[in-house]
């Protein structure tokens, strides 16, 4: 059994000592205020707190042990409630490594093992040194590769026999081309991907294992940060504004002066008593523009910090990513565990022909931030993204079927209702509270209703490929989701009362992915009811057929062994 690195114990005990000390100090201060404790109570409690907390931290460190043995990872932990956990390595979905600044200085890293079950990370090693990270990673990967080679060999046989039914998970992927490369063993790694998919590889990086699929240089990173607007950035900016209130007031005062207000007091008083609407409007527009510029800067900064030094490599059957400026994240995603492939393009990216590629497994991936879950390629020309997506999950040319035209009428009705509702609210608020008489301005919301309905309709669609179901939706951020038939979980058809009126239905195809934000469900929106039922039955049939195909592969491998 191994222990975590001693340096991590030192860090933890130091942290616990501080926490305990503070806890005791505050508890003591509070107590001496309330119960008139003697003067030495405060330092004594502080010391006691420090001792108890650090003792517990030490005990936890000593109790935490792990071991890689054969096919399993065993983790023993817990001081009072003891836990012993065994994880079959074949079930590990991905392995993620995180290094914060302190750990980078100390040469340590946190390793997380994700499996498909449960909602939390199954095993966290906090922290081990870099050599150990390498050892763990290699151990898991070699284990995976051995298994993958077996199934790949078997399935490729099976596929040639049952030409239509089964398609091997990744038999056609360079890394797992199967029996020959792995069984002969040895020096097969770096160059087995003939041509690097990304042409944007500009600098030679240190790549000890695997071939580089994609990397960012500084300019591309900035482009990405600019075009991938984070919806959370304005909220974050707004929330952190109170921290710099003085600056905010100074800027607002400057704006007010620019707008031509004679300022004799605080801005608020001018705002409250200002009779000049045009000046007020200039002031408002100016401030709002400044706010959004600031939000953009925040968004760019966040993205740069998150994706600095991004690179994606492929080694054997694994994708491996690395990213982060302050915290370094890296991780392995076994290709055979990929559930769905998602291609996202927002409006800006579509203009310039770029796209984002994300892969999902049934474990978490891509660090602990929801926003970046499973991002494989943050930004690349669309063709490259599709090429890489086909490498991961082979599919043909996608030709999307749109929803029937009456779906567009449904969106039109829905958006009109929303606009009417907002106008009504504006009218009510205005006539009861504000009395400006400008409530009809909200009626302008009716203008974008028609184009909005059309765009929503135009960007929705689905395609039944030979081996995958592809769905697409979204105008602002178009998401194309590619689901292999053999990954389907449940299939459902939903019809809301409004859909029933127009004989429309939505078909959902669930997969075992973990991200609740992106959702594992690929949805085909608002198609004809008859088509929906057909689609459901087709999906069910193909799932059965493809799973059966994979299974004959396994039988063959058993027979071989």
């Amino acid at each position: 059994m191994n222990r975590l690195h001693p340096r991590s114990a030192v860090v933890r005990i130091a942290r616990a000592t501080l926490q305990g000390g503070f806890f005791g100090f505050f508890g003591g201060s509070l107590g001496s205020g309330m119960f008139a404790l003697p003067w030495f109570a405060v330092p004594a409690l502080a010391v006691l707190g420090a001792v108890v907390f650090s003792g517990y931290a030490l005990a936890r460190y000593l109790r935490f042990q792990y071991e890689l043995d054969g096919d399993t990872l065993t983790v023993e932990s817990g001081v009072f409630a003891r836990q012993s956990r065994q994880i079959p390595l074949g079930r590990v979905q991905n392995l993620d490594v995180e290094q914060n600044i302190l750990n980078r200085l100390l040469g340590l890293a946190i390793v997380r093992f994700e499996t498909a079950g449960g909602s939390a990370t199954e095993a966290t090693l906090d922290a081990v040194d870099e050599a150990e990270v390498k050892r763990l990673r290699n151990y898991v990967r070699t284990h995976d590769r051995d298994e993958a080679a077996e199934t790949a060999a078997a399935t490729s046989d099976a596929v040639s026999e049952t030409a239509t039914a089964g398609r091997s998970a990744h038999a056609d992927l360079p890394g797992v081309t199967g029996p020959t490369s792995t069984h002969t063993g040895g020096a097969q790694t770096a160059n087995d991907l003939e041509e690097p998919v990304s042409a944007s590889v500009t600098e030679e990086r240190d790549q000890p294992d695997g071939s580089l699929l994609f990397a960012f240089d500084q300019r591309e990173l900035l482009t990405y940060a600019l075009v991938s607007v984070r919806p959370a950035a304005p909220v974050l900016t707004l929330a952190s504004l109170p921290l710099g209130m003085d600056v905010v007031w100074a800027v607002l005062r400057f704006n007010a002066t620019l707008a031509g207000a004679s300022l004799s007091g605080p801005v608020v008083r001018w705002l409250a008593s200002s009779p000049e609407t045009t000046r007020l409007a200039v002031f408002a527009v100016l401030s709002v523009v400044q706010f959004f510029l600031l939000a953009l800067v925040v968004s760019v900064a966040l993205t740069v910090v998150e994706y600095y030094g991004f690179q994606l490599t492929q080694a054997d059957g694994d994708l491996r990513y690395e990213r982060g400026l302050l915290r370094r994240y890296s991780g392995n995603i076994p290709l055979e565990k990929v559930q769905t492939v998602t291609i996202r393009e927002n409006v800006l990216m579509r203009q310039f022909g770029y796209a984002t590629l994300a892969v999902e497994t049934a474990g978490y991936s891509g660090g602990n931030q929801q926003s970046s879950q499973g991002v494989a390629v943050p930004l690349a020309p669309r063709e490259e993204v599709y090429e890489l997506a086909r490498d991961i999950e082979p599919f043909g040319d996608l030709d999307f079927d749109r929803s029937p035209k009456r779906a567009r009428r449904r969106y039109l009705a829905r958006f009109s209702l929303a606009a009417a509702g907002l106008t009504a609210v504006a009218y009510a608020v205005d006539s009861m509270l504000l009395e400006t008489g400008y409530w009809w301005l909200t009626a302008l919301l009716f203008l974008p209703v028609v184009p909005a309905a059309h765009l929503r309709w135009r960007h929705r669609g689905f395609d039944l490929d030979e081996s995958v179901l592809a769905t697409r939706s979204g105008f602002w951020r178009r998401t194309t989701r590619i689901v292999p038939y053999y990954r389907l979980q449940t299939v459902f058809v939903t019809r809301s009362p409004f859909q029933r009126r127009r004989d429309l239905a939505t078909v959902g195809a669930d997969t075992a992915s973990s991200s609740s934000l992106l959702g594992g469900v690929a949805r085909v929106y608002d198609i004809d009811e008859g088509t929906a039922k057909e689609l459901r039955d087709t999906l069910r049939e193909r799932l059965t057929a493809h799973v059966a195909g994979l299974r004959t592969g396994d039988r063959a491998s058993d027979a071989e062994a």
Binding site: Q489, T494, S496, A512, S513, S515, V547, D554
Partner: protein, 153 residues
């Protein structure tokens, strides 16, 4: 297609009554200790919720159907939004029968089917006689075993 036991309506109505009563108690406490609420609103709200619950229970029972098809468990449900769900046997991780306190009092049981998916990862068939629930669980288990997959993820 099999429908649920008629007594499931009673189960649903009872749980609405319980939920509405809990809300009523909260309203009473708010009224007592914080803001005063008009009594008619509280009582009226309770009555409206219960009536809605009764209507919903009757409609839901009329719509609910399930069927063990060749390759998948098929369910039809939903009063406002109709949903039909197909759970392929290959994807069944495990099957439970559960009996909550109200269910026990009425003499019914539910079967819960788990998959590895994100939406509807656990699918409940309520309102079954206990024998039928056990039988269904065993049927589903056998069907899942027959269609054994390498890895249900």
């Amino acid at each position: 297609m099999e429908s649920l036991h008629p007594r499931v309506r009673l189960l649903w109505i009872l749980s609405t009554v319980i939920q509405a009563s809990v809300l009523g108690v909260i309203a009473y406490l708010v009224d007592r200790f914080a803001v005063s609420l008009p009594q008619t609103v509280v009582v009226g709200g309770w009555v409206v919720l219960v009536v809605l619950g009764v209507v919903h229970a009757i409609a839901a029972h009329r719509i609910w159907r399930f069927d063990l098809q060749d390759d998948a468990l098929f369910l039809l449900r939903g009063v406002v939004t109709r949903t039909d769900t197909s759970v392929p046997y290959v994807r069944v991780q495990h099957v439970d029968t559960t009996r909550g306190p109200v269910e026990r009092a009425i003499g019914l049981a539910s079967v819960v089917v788990y998959t590895a998916g994100t939406r509807g990862a656990d699918i409940t068939i309520p309102g079954l006689r206990p024998e039928r629930a056990t039988e269904l669980r065993e049927q589903l288990r056998d069907l899942a075993n027959e269609s054994e997959a390498t890895d249900a993820v």
